[in-house]
């Protein structure tokens, strides 16, 4: 039986909602980049932030009273995906719905605050209120409580490819008789500490724009938000195939793994929603595309939405599904060099399939292919 996207939710630096965010991407809008600082250092970074109004109508659930931004992004995306699914395919029984939460950095704001107190004044000042929110699965727990999910709930941790691994896990779970649908959610929150860490890791640039496929790579800018995809048996967009991929030991080896994944997914009717973000990932994907699907239409939203790490692959799935639903792909801004790839012009496209290619920053790569019956 086919696996389909029954509903989606999207919380991004360009606002909230599938159609509003997609329209703004098609218009060429870019999310708001704001300076981000911390008392621990004089250094300032930039990050794409979710506008406050995007979360203004979240339900006043007690679980959200103290919850960090990551939990709020996830709640908003999850609620929206479920609402869209209910209006598109009818009732969804949450007792028979599984939840998979994909994340990379997790609740870094509260974790930093918790540990800062410990470092600053000692273990006796550690906060019992903050500690539970530092646990990776806290956002999933809040979301399960808000939506009334009582069955399977998994938090998956990984790099940028974790969203695809979560989709793979969802497809495996849906083989189980006890599960009718699976809500895959991914979220991240931006913080100065993350910016500093990725900067020291030599992956971050201090100011926009993100220039894709530039050699040498000029770096990425972090972002935040959430995405949600409800997988079920009904829906307009079908999950054609998922490749959980493999791990690369060195950055130079990434293109071989990405190429192997793309080899299995390549299709002449497909566009590619890439994970290119201004780092080594761009060249890995460029080489793989040149080898496996030359001429394929390549799109990445990272210049407009930033690099949301653990949420990125699920955002790519949403973008791919929207490309198929609307028959359009946004133009790619800030291409300072011509890498010889085929980029969208902003006009209508005639793809019936979309390949999601995800090369993470920390050794994981995976991919999947979506399709729509035209």
């Amino acid at each position: 039986m086919s696996l389909r996207i029954a509903g989606m939710g999207w919380v991004t630096p360009l606002g909230r909602g599938i159609n509003p965010v997609w329209s703004r991407l098609l218009r060429g809008d870019e999310g708001g980049v704001t300076p981000i600082s911390d008392a621990i250092s004089d250094k300032t970074y930039s990050a794409f932030r979710v506008p406050a109004e995007a979360l203004k109508d979240l339900p006043p659930h007690p679980r959200l009273r103290r919850a960090s931004a990551i939990s709020r992004f996830a709640a908003a995306a999850g609620i929206d995906a479920l609402a869209e699914a209910r209006s598109a395919v009818g009732d969804i029984d949450t007792d028979r719905m599984a939840l998979i939460f994909a994340v990379s950095n997790g609740g870094v704001v509260y974790t930093k605050r918790f540990y800062h107190n410990v470092v600053e004044t000692g273990a006796q000042s550690a906060s019992p209120l903050l500690f539970p929110e530092t646990v990776f699965n806290a956002p999933a727990s809040h979301l399960a409580a808000i939506l009334g999910i009582t069955g399977a709930s998994y938090t998956l941790v990984g790099d940028g490819a974790v969203g695809v691994l979560a989709m793979k896990m969802a497809s495996d779970l849906l083989d189980n008789d006890t599960v009718d649908s699976c809500l895959v959610v991914a979220a991240e929150e931006a913080d100065w500490l993350l910016c500093d860490a990725y900067h020291k890791w030599r992956l971050l640039k201090s100011e926009p724009p993100i220039e894709l496929f530039h050699q040498p790579p000029r770096g990425m800018i972090l972002s935040e938000g959430g995405g949600a995809v409800l997988l079920a048996r009904q829906g307009e967009v079908q999950i054609d195939t998922i490749d959980a991929g493999a791990n690369f030991s060195k950055r130079d080896a990434a293109s071989e793994i990405v190429g192997r994944i793309l080899h299995g997914l390549a299709d002449e009717e497909a566009c590619i929603v890439a994970s290119a973000n201004g780092t080594f990932v761009d060249l890995a994907e460029q080489k793989a595309i040149e080898r496996e699907l030359p001429g394929g239409l390549v799109y990445s939203f990272k210049p407009a939405l930033g690099e949301s790490v653990g949420a990125a692959a699920l955002w790519q799935v949403i973008a791919g599904a929207q490309a198929l639903r609307t028959g359009r792909l946004p133009k790619m801004p800030h291409l300072a060099q011509d890498p010889g790839l085929n980029f969208p012009t902003g006009d209508e496209i005639s793809c019936s399939k979309a390949i999601i290619l995800s090369c993470g920053l920390n050794q994981q790569a995976a991919g999947l292919r979506l399709r729509i019956d035209l």
Partner: protein
């Protein structure tokens, strides 16, 4: 109790064998040392040596001595990889000695905190504005998938890694999901288990909640006062039984059931009714097509916190009556994401050598809990099917059923 039977004429699912395992924990390095500690009722909890605990209430934990960890196997210096990586490598070394031919298609591993101590090192260096030259290494190796990828690559494995972070249920959730993957017929061989290395942030966190105890860890005791933390890694090679038999693999046991539930009562406290654990245990029985009467021993989650033991104990008493139970966390502490995997090893050893592992430090029964505790000493017993429970923050509950399998 009615026997669960819901095949409805479908093709029976694949049977899932454990063909190799490896473990390192406070109980010992490897299966033999682990078994010896269990049989001799050894208390493996000791004063914390990894970081300063002067300002904590609790000052003890179950720890793996650094000198028992293997050096890094590849070209990178040992100091560059996290302790957790070396724990996983130790477990994998033992596993691949048993079955060098095992080639996983997927790896599913549970953890709660990955390479947390590297994150701490980075933050402390930032705070004192010096010593940051190591920060790229700390940052690149901090994330939870990294120790698993590094350990896999030491054995030339590149299987995709699903890293489950379901708090204290992570290890059992990982084994349970891996079991379902093989049982569905989609995968023949899956590597699974759990790991966690003790870290200051997590230790202090549990201390701040007063969930950890300054005394002995006494699960299900009337005077229980909390958990002690632990650490370690345990890895399982799961394989379709038919395929394992065909290639002549050793058969160490069979995973027969898995249950998972989510308890939305509170982020850190279970519903006092025990409904969350009960649903997980019932689902494990249902998925195995077994009844509660079939279960011969339960390795309880048993953290020795007031609320957890009360909720779990209530659910076990209602569902299983007088089945012998113990919490081996009393001996080695609570190793969080590794706990379910290490305890599954304990269950396998119990099945193989026919004994009941002990619940040490037990002094007096909680009158509110009608439980058959294996108090203080291991004892011989005829057991064929055992249940292992893990419940965690966020309301994640997981149970697996393991049965003895003739070679």
């Amino acid at each position: 109790m009615a026997r669960f039977n819901d095949l409805n004429g479908k093709t029976p699912p694949a049977r899932v064998a454990v063909v190799a395992t490896g473990v390192i924990s406070p109980l010992g390095c490897g299966l033999d040392e682990t078994l010896a500690s269990l049989r001799s009722n050894k208390d493996c909890v000791s004063p914390v040596t990894q970081f300063d605990v002067q300002k904590c209430r609790c000052k003890t934990a179950g720890q793996v001595p650094d000198d028992r960890l293997p050096p890094n196997r590849n070209s990178r210096k040992t100091a560059r990889v996290h302790r957790a990586t070396r724990m996983i490598v130790a477990a994998l070394e033992e596993l691949f000695k048993q079955d060098p031919e095992f080639k996983p298609e997927l790896t599913v591993i549970g953890t709660t905190s990955g390479g947390m101590s590297f994150g701490q090192d980075y933050y402390r260096a930032l705070h004192r504005h010096r010593g940051l030259r190591h920060s790229p290494r700390w940052i690149a190796n901090y994330l939870p998938q990294k120790p698993v990828i590094d350990a896999q690559s030491a054995f030339q494995i590149s299987a995709p890694c699903q890293i489950i972070a379901n708090a204290c249920a992570s290890g059992t959730n990982a084994i349970g999901h891996a079991f379902e993957c093989v049982r569905s017929g989609k995968y023949q061989r899956v590597l699974t288990g759990g790991y966690d290395a003790i870290s200051e942030l997590v230790f202090v966190g549990f201390d701040s909640l007063q969930a950890s105890t300054p005394e002995k860890c006494r699960p299900f005791d009337h005077n229980r006062s909390g958990m002690v933390l632990g650490e370690g890694a345990a890895i399982f090679a799961l394989e379709d039984l038919e395929s394992a038999r065909k290639r002549g693999a050793r058969l160490l046991g069979e995973i027969v059931g898995y249950g998972i539930s989510t308890d939305n009562h509170h982020l850190t406290q279970p519903d006092p009714s025990g409904s969350g654990p009960r649903r997980a245990m019932e689902q494990a029985l249902r998925s195995a097509n077994r009844s509660a009467e079939d279960v011969d021993y339960i390795n309880a989650h048993g953290t020795a916190t007031t609320f957890n033991d009360a909720a779990e104990g209530k659910a076990i008493a209602e569902l299983f009556g007088g089945v012998p139970i113990s919490s081996t966390k009393s001996m080695m502490g609570h190793s969080l994401g590794a706990a379910g995997a290490i305890e599954a090893i304990v269950c396998l050893l119990a099945l193989q050598t026919q004994f009941l592992p002990p619940n040490i430090n037990f002094r007096s029964a909680d009158q509110g809990l009608d439980l058959n505790i294996v108090a203080n000493e291991s004892r011989d017993a005829k057991i064929d099917i055992v249940l292992s429970n893990s419940f965690g923050f966020g309301g994640t509950n997981a149970s697996i059923l393991i049965q003895k399998l003739a070679a």
